[in-house]
Every structure is written in C-alpha cells, then in structure tokens.
Symmetry: D2
Subunit: 362 residues, 4 copies
C-alpha cells in the first residue's frame, strides 16, 4: 500500500497504544512509521519495550516489532517521521495539554484519546457519525494558535459511545430528547492495564468508576453543541444521569437507558426504523473504518450481550435491543459498544479518516 | 431445643428447598421434621434424593440427611408431621395454587416462595419490615375459605428486596415517592439450579430476565397497599421502571436507583439518618432472623459490592451506598441484598417468625 | 465458488453442529446444502429451528438461514442433497452407529464427531497431521461392508488434541515415548450447550469430567496404531495418566504434561526444533484448513494462555510453551488447542479435506 | 478473655496482614495489641491506614480499628507492646531476614509468612501436623544466636499445603513415597493484593507462577527432614515435579497428584482409612485452630471443588477426593486447601498455638 500516511503512536507501549498498533496493522490509509513512549522505553526495539506487557490477543504486527521507540517529548523526531500522531499518553492533564500542543505546533495532526483537551473550546470532541461538522473549527483553531498544518482533535469517553449515537439519531430525526437515565455495565479493559484486580472482579462487581459518571453526563453537552465563531457552544437541553458500574467482562460497555422526549414522541417502530436507516458522513464517505450500518437493532429479547455483540461491524457498530415503553420516562432500551474499538482506538482512527477525507491531513 | 415448631419443606430437593434446609439447620424456633418433593424423589432418604445435586456450600445437616422424602401431593402425611410448611415447589401456577390451598385447608401454615398466590387478594405478600400489618387479613382469609388453623402467606420477588425497603423507609418517614427507575444486576443463583449456562456468563452478561421486570414493577403496588375489609388494596401512587440484568455473580442482587419524590424532598443527610435509624416490627420483636440494623449505609464510594456486602446481617440486612443527587429525578443510590437469603429462604423464615410472634402458628 | 462439494450437517442445531455451520460458511471446497436434526426441528427453516439457541459469536450464515431442516433419520433426502456429511448427532451409541452406517451405505462420506465408532476396528480415528495413513483402511472398510462410495471416519476426543500432536512429533523424529502424565484444564464449551452451570463455574472449578480421562488415555492407542490387513492395530507402548478438570474458560483446552522417553532423550533445544519444523501431510498438501505451522512454540514463561493462544492458526494450530526438565519423568511442557475448532468441527473439516485430497470423495 | 498473649502483626496493612487481623479477631489465646507497617502508614489509625484497601469480606475488627500503626523497623515499641509477632512484611529477603532476627533478639517470638528464613538451617519451617518436632531446634537456635526468649519459626509455601499432609500421612503409616507429579490450580488471592489483573483472569488462566514450582519442589525436603544437632537435615528421598497454574478462583489451591511409592503399596481403601484416621499433635493437644479431622476424604466423583470445600474445618482442613490407580505411577488423587487460611495466616496461627502449648512462648 504505497503512499499511505506516515503515522505515529505516542504512548505506544500502554494498552491503548497497543490497540492502535494492532488496529492500524492492516489499515489502507495509515502506516505506523513511528512509536514513542516514556524515557524508560525510549531507544528500545518496540517488541522489547512491550515484552511481558503486550496484552492484545493478536501478535505484535511485523512492521512495528523492530521500530525503535522514541521519547514522547522529542517532538522533532516525531515530526520527521510522520504527519499524523495518535496520542495515547498518560500523564497529568497540564503536561498532556502542553505536549499535544507542541506536536500540533510542529505541524502534526494530533488525534487524542486523552481527556486533557476535551474541554478546550476550540478543540473538537468528535464522534464522526454525530458531530463531524465540529471539525469546522479547525481553521480557526490553527489561526488562533498560529499553526500551519497542525491540529488537535479528541475523542470522547468510551462510556457514552453506546448510548449517545442512538439518541443523536432520534434528535436528528426531529425528536428532541429532554433527559435520560443511564446505567452502564463497563468492561475491565476500559481501565487500561492492569486495571481492576481479579480478586475484585470474581463473583463481584463494583458500582463505581472514578470520574466516569461526570464524563458521561458532561461530554454530550459539547458533542451535541453547535459551532459558532470557531468555537463549540455547549448544548444544555439534555439532562443526563449516569450510574457507572465495572463488571467482569473483557470488552464491551453495555448501557440500560430510560429516556424522555422533549416534544413529539415517536412510536416504537418509527424509532427502530430511524436507527436501522441511520447513515452519517462516515458511511456516506465510505471511510475504511465506518461500519455499515452503524446502528444495529436486534429483535431477540436477550440482546445485545457484550461477548456476542461487541464485534459487530468489526467493533465499530453499536448494537441496540429491548426497545420498550418506560413507565416513568418515555422509552427504554439497551445499547452496547466495543469500548476499546469504537470507544477508543477505532473511534480515533475513524476521526483521522474523516480528517483525511475532508482534506485536513497534509 | 425442645418444643420447636415442627416444620416441613415442600419442594425440598430443589435449590430453594436446599436453602431452607441449610438455613433452618440451627433455627431456635423451627425444626425440620418433614421434607417432600416430586414422586420421583418420594420414598428416598433425603441425602440420597439430593445426591449429586446438593449445591449448598455447607453439608446437608445431620438432622435432615436421613429423613424420608414424602410426596408433595400427600397432604395427610405432611399434616401429621408438621404444623408449618415452607413451599418451594416448582409446578405450573394453577397446580401450585391448588396444592398450597390444600395444605392450608388441612390446617398447615404455608409460607411460600412461589409466585402463584402473589396476586390472590386475600393472601398477604410480605416483607416483614415493610408490611407486617398485611398479616391482618389472615382471619378473614381463614373465614372466607373455611380454614381453622391453616393460612397462606407469600414472599415477593427477590429483585425488589434490595430497593423497596430503603424506599419504604423514606415513605414511612413522611417523604412520598412518586417514581423510580431501577437497573438491577442480579446473581445467577436467582435462577435456581442449573440456571444460566457458564458459556453465557463468562466474559458476558445478559440484559434480560424473563418476567423479572414485570414482577419488580408490579409487586410493590401490593406490598405498599393498604388493608381494607380483609383484602389488600393496591397502591398505585408509585411508578417503577425496572431494567433487570443477569451478571456473573453467585449471590447478591444489586440495584442502581434513581428516584423522584412526590412532595417534600429530604436533604441527603436526613435520608442517611432515616436509613440508619430504621427499625420495624421484626427488629422490635427481636425475631431470630431479623437483622439489627436492617439498613446499612456505607460511606465508601465503591460499595456496596455483591461479594463483600451480601452477607451483612447474616444475609438479611440491606446495604446501601452512593447516595447523591440525580440530575434527572431527585436522588440516586445503590442498594444490595442477598437474593437467596433475604430474597428467598431467609425472607420466608422471617415471615414465619413474624407469624409465630403474632400468634398465627398453632 | 462453483463446483464445491455438497455437504450436509447432521445434528445441525446443537452446538457442534452450529460450529460446523459457522466454520463452513466461507469454505473453498465444501458448501452446506443440507442440514438435518431431530424430528422436532425437521421441517423448520434453520434460522427458526435454532432461534434462541444459536450460541456462536458470529451470525447464522446467510446461505444456511433459509435451508429447511431435514430429519436426521431420513437418509434418502440427505443422499439426494449432498455427497459428504458431518455427523454431530447426539443419541445413544448404538443408534449413532446404525445411523452413520446407513448414511455410509447410501453412498455418503461420513465424518463424525460422535464417539460411537471410535473403537470400530475398520473405522479410522484421525488427527490429519498424526495418522493420515489410517485412511488406507477405507478400501477394506468399503469392501467388507459392501459400500460403493460411502465411508466413515471419526475424529478423536478434544482433550488429547493439545498434547498428542507434540508428542507424536517427537516419536516421528525417532524419540520413543514411554509414558506421560497429563493434567488438563478444559473449557466449558467442550461440554456443549448448556454445559456446566455458571453457579458451578464462578469462583470454582470441577476436577472431573465424566468419561474424559478414559478417552484421553485410550484413544491415543488407536491413533498411534499401525494399519495391518485393513484394520488398525492398537499401540500399547505408551502409558498415559490423565487428570481432567473443567475450568471457567470459554474455549481452549490446556494441558500440563510430564513425559518419559523410552530410549534416547533429546536435548531441550532439539525438541523445540522438532516442534517448530514439524510438517505433516496436511501442510504438504496445502489443505485449506491446515495451519502453517501446526506447532507453535512460545518462549514467554507464561504462555500458552487459553484466551490469547487458542486462535493461533485460525484455531487449528497447537501452542506449546514452558518446555523444561521434569524431576520425576524426563521433560515437561504446557500445550493448548482450541477445543471447538481443532478439537471438534475444524479437526473434522480437515479430515474431510484430506479425504478429498486423497480422492476418497466422489 | 483475660490473660491472652499480646500479639503484634508486622506488615499489618497488606493482604496477609489483614488476614491475620481478621482471623485473630476472636482468638481465645492471642489478642492483637499492636500493628506495624511501612513508614508511610506509621502513626495512622489502623482503619485509616487500610482505608480503600481493606479487602477482607468481613469488617475490620473493632478492637483493631483504633490501634495506632507502628513503624515495622521500630523493634522497641513492638517489644513493649507484645510477646509474639506474626511477620507478614514484604521487603527484599535480606532486609526481612535482618528485621525478623532483630525482633527475635529483642525477646519476641516471630512466626513468619515470609520466605526469607525458610532455608536458614536452624529455623524450622513447620506444618504443625507434619513436623511439629522441628520446633526442637529452638533451644539451639536461641543458644547459637544468644537469644533469651526470642525465636523464629516460618511456615512453608501455600501451594504445597494441599498435597504434602496427605502424602505425609501415608509416609507416617509406613508407606515410603518415592516421587510425585503434581499440577496445581491456584487461587488469585495467593498473589496478594492487587495480584493478577482481571483482564488476565476472565476467560483465561496462566500456566505459570514465578518461583512457585521451585518452592513446591524444594520445601518438602526440609519439612520432611530430620533434626540432628539442632539443625534440620534435608530429606532427599522424595522427588517432586510441580506444574503451578493461576486460575480464576478467589481462594483454594487445588492439586492433581500422581504418586509412586518407594516400597510397599497400600490398597486404595487402606489409603482412605489412613487419611480418615490421621491425627497429629495439634489434634491431640486440642489446639484452638486445629481442624478435627485434618484430612477429609470425599466420595463424590467431582470433589473437592475450591468454592465448596475450601472452608472445611474453618479453612484449616484439607479435602481429598478421586483416589484411583495411576497408569504411570502408582496412585492419583485430588487435594484442596484454603490458601489464605491453612496456607497462610491460619497455618501460622496454628504454629503459634503449638509454640504456646509446648511452652516456647513466655
């Protein structure tokens, strides 16, 4: 695949970084030409740097095994080796903000999993099927910061990716949503490696994930926001209450949702039709990672299930089931997404594909 | 322990029946003198009848091992051997209704786990701390049916036992509750033996339990109802929306609750105080199985957890945590109860203790 | 893919049958044109017949969804629809033996997962990389039984597939093996659906699998046997002691092996070399399902692991690790194979490919 | 309980330390009057020091909650507060050796879980039912080191506690054992907290535990050794080959054992009789923690199982099952012990009870 975009993974030795390495192994547009990590790993062969902590179920791709790990703080080398970087660094927020801005200032497009820049008002937080138009702030982002080619885009928290797209589909179809109460059952991979101890997860679950409920409740305000004057104006029309639980599954965040409409209430079969027909810009552009369809509705009473549905659409689709009236709000349903694919590396790669399709890369 | 009440377990070979056998092993008031099951088991020694399918973690109690299993349809023998029977039979509903009525007609007090009589209007469905006064219908139950000493009382579904008592405590304290949305994560033991297949529960959960949401939503209407003219009048003031999930834990049903008050809204510290000070008739009577206290509030952010909290109060207490405001309704919290103790055999034994304390037995 | 061999799956609604359906979905040589099951399923659309009990992680293949399920006892229809059948029926052994013989007598090639014919002396029990030459008995099988085109071949038990091929590789390289003690940790899928109850597999394991140790110890005698006069002469030179355990994994049987050589003892690096260079007839013939390589040796101290290594070679390779001296016998190691792929449907499909390559089909 | 021995737990905040705290809560002879840990915890209230990392299923005992945590390196305070200390410190081996010797030199009896002193030739490594006579080296230990009242005794690794006592029972009955091959399936609690990551233990197991096989193979040489001239002479007559696996259970190490006798071979029923009748010094002395009986043989084909049998004898008994001939060695069986009770804190407490009964304390 000649002519692929040279791509770096910053924070390449951690679990999210490993996910990027694995998912990019056969990507038609992006080629991993550079990996960077902390100073302890810098200088090592990638395969040596992750020896004993490669936790993916597939092997390290051949093309990456022998790359020399760079130091994440070495911007110049990154710039020399690639045009696009995926940021999966884990440091304190201010340090991440600075680092990602340095990468962008050097001319690199930065797509980040880190939460540091999620609330920066000229940094889009994007689910490509929901708010692709938020990329419109990039020209002003560049202008304001004096960047020529660089840019920063971030992906939101994994926990909301199972329920926000189906809700957005209803909003887009003209059915305003006023409030929702969501209880998530989230997989252990969402906590990175090592994540929850097995002694806490055998014959047990934990009804708390630090910071997760706040992200689940707040980030949709920005994702559903509108662009004005190169900034993203928050949308405060939707109230969310989130209960987040850690459960003993490997991958797949499941959400039980009760929802109240703000105005007209669609009948149930209309909702299912809206979901089944939902197509957005990534589907229309035919982006390589865009699932076709994005939203899958299953009729069986006992679906979606994490192990059986998380891989739908190669981990990029969202599976919904059990749509029924809610005796307290209006409707309720269950939704599931793959947290380390759609909710992390896959979602970020789809952002990068959208950037490329819209001409923001190179 | 001389003078204990002679007690039978009908449906003694199934998992609920085994729970009764184990929990009654050291009971100060009740002595298992009779066990009955299906015709296939009848005539066998109890230990032989459950060989290979005794699933309790403790051994079969010595006093029960050698009892001869009776035929559940043989009312006369049951009547000759005991004064009280716990019904854990599994048959179609009409058959259960008939059988339990025959036991009662013979003069036996019947406390049942089965759902067959839950909606019979003169049969109380009792959580002893919530609606002990529903036993007041027993005299009219007897009169209407021509029973001298017999009676039937049933226990409600296990899934609601984690959240209804804390909500009742608030109602009793003068804070009307208008609606609640509850998502449960229920243990596999709730489905009996064998219950869910391990292949469905490893790295997975199932967002559906047949019939469970209906029971969770409807049974509180009766439990919170009022007694009038020897019948229980349903309470329709509380709207409930339940999402019920099966998760890979052995015991302990956990519920994430969002709740809206009907009138005045108590501050959070007042709610915790109400819970911590909650005492009801079983506590005041000092019933042997009554937990002291019944409601335990934990301050830690990550509690209650099924494995760590289900055994509180020897499995009869309810553990609550994470009380906080709800952005959509008024408050939210997490509650946990032991489904096979409080939610099944233990709850029924506490009913029987209440019956004895109130003079309904013998 | 025109010209593919018309293939039937008998016992198509059970878990092994479903595995066949899934694995054959994209097979280059075989096309599922017929499915059969018990009389209760017969006449239904396949998708309807397995509704609610399709347990594969992928969906029912489009090409099979609408097939009408035949009655497994209807030989004529099977013969009219296909040339090859995979038998995954579950009945008593004598009934299976009769049924499979009727299929063969009608002219069908039968490859069976069932254990009924494993000890029939003119029926080969084949691991294609170990004893492909046992197919040489087919001409005499046909002659003796008066079959023109029909034949029966069976695959051995799944538990031995992780350790017998590595041991055979050593024997083939000239190092006689005298005895081995093997402890297996076997996945729940090996028991079919529903298989072990989750209440027995959460925070637990079961040190017993009915019949499994006998199969593990006896079947290698036939697989390593020699063909003489159209019969397979048992090999009694290898003594096996098997401890079989059921553990809470979905797929992947793992074996801890201690082994004693009968004569010369190869050094450890020689053993690894033998494994890494091992190629047998399926590899040489380039059969579509033959893994290249079959035996994978991993250097990491903590491998193979069921979830991480079972899919090696698309589930058809065997992963070995931890080769080291044994203080009691000679050497010890750990081996893993995918029980429902290599150990069941995949192994049987590889047998069918070998039959085709050797001219036994059609 | 007046007059109980003042007891300290050194390393009290870790998981083994917590086990001691929990198990000593109601001990008739020992009273926890002192807890010590690292400098970071020193000075805090114990309940504060373990806040957020108390992982026992029971609450912190009232009597210990308010103890002030001492610094483990402060020998004088420990000496002032107690006469006996349980050492559960985690440091490098030389530091542990020095620290434990300083405690002993100050006059304290030290019973240690740490492996640092297991190979010190005048330090007994004791399973009270197997080698209580090794305590006879204490007078010479004291003399050689110039200690007046102090002493050090250690307990062996948890993995061998399931199989060594049953084997010792056979040896004591006159049946020499020449070799054994054992495969263990060990619970996650054996690795302390946090121990194995849940992502490594869901739908998986790990066929390797660092250092565990060496301990399993070597420590029996000392435990079965003989005392001569105040030293323990290793017993090299028994060859052991251990395969150690980590499996997803909370507690309970299970071992599959194949065994070869050195001389006479007892019939199977004789072996069961030897186990059932086995009594040793702790049983004869009626020590509070001594299980009666120590060895439990179960007839059921599928026992022992970790969750169902680990609590036998309050976690101090060993459950054995599946005794049968071994086609390669002589016999085989399955054995189970509770790794954090018998294999850790409970085993050490039993050692302390034995020390007290034999007059070594105070």
């Amino acid at each position: 695949m000649p002519g692929r975009i040279k791509t770096g993974v910053i924070g390449a030795t951690g679990m999210v970084g490993q996910n990027y390495i694995q998912m990019l192994a056969r990507h038609p547009w992006f080629e991993v030409t550079y990996v960077a990590a902390s100073p302890q790993s810098a200088g090592k062969r990638y395969a040596d740097a992750v020896a004993g902590r490669w936790v993916m179920d597939e092997e390290i791709p051949e093309a990456v095994r022998d790359l020399t790990v760079g130091d994440a703080s070495d911007i110049a080398t990154a710039r020399a080796r690639c045009d696009l970087v995926f940021s999966a660094v884990e440091m304190d927020k201010q340090a991440v903000r600075n680092l990602e801005e340095q990468y962008a200032a050097s001319g690199l497009a930065v797509v980040s999993n880190n939460s540091a820049h999620r609330w920066t008002e000229d940094v889009p937080m994007v689910i490509p099927e929901v708010n692709p138009h938020h990329l419109d702030v990039i020209p002003l982002q560049r202008k304001r910061r004096g960047w020529q080619k660089g840019l920063i885009v971030v992906k939101p928290n994994c926990s909301l990716q199972s329920y926000l797209p189906p809700i957005y589909a209803l909003i887009r179809a003209g059915y305003a949503v006023e409030s929702l109460i969501v209880t998530t059952m989230q997989a252990v991979s969402g906590a990175g490696y090592p994540g929850p101890a097995s002694i806490d997860m055998i014959d047990n679950l934990i009804p708390f994930i630090p910071g997760e409920e706040e992200k689940s409740e707040q980030e949709p305000r920005k994702i559903l926001g509108t662009v004005r004057d190169g900034k993203i104006i928050l949308n405060d029309s939707l109230q969310i209450s989130a209960h987040c639980n850690r459960v003993p599954t490997i991958n797949g965040h499941l959400a039980c949702v009760s929802l109240k409409f703000g105005g007209r209430k669609p009948p149930l079969d209309e909702i299912i039709r809206i979901w089944q027909e939902f197509r957005a810009e990534p589907q229309e552009l035919g982006l390589p990672s865009a699932p076709q369809p994005m939203l899958i509705y299953r009729d069986e009473a006992n679906r979606p299930q994490p192990r059986r549905d998380r891989d739908a659409g190669r981990g990029m689709a969202i599976t919904i089931g059990r749509l029924r009236p809610c005796p307290v709000l209006d409707i309720r349903f269950v939704a599931l997404s793959h947290n380390t694919v759609r909710g992390a590396a896959g979602g970020a790669i789809l952002i990068a594909e959208l950037l490329q399709a819209k001409g923001y890369l190179g």
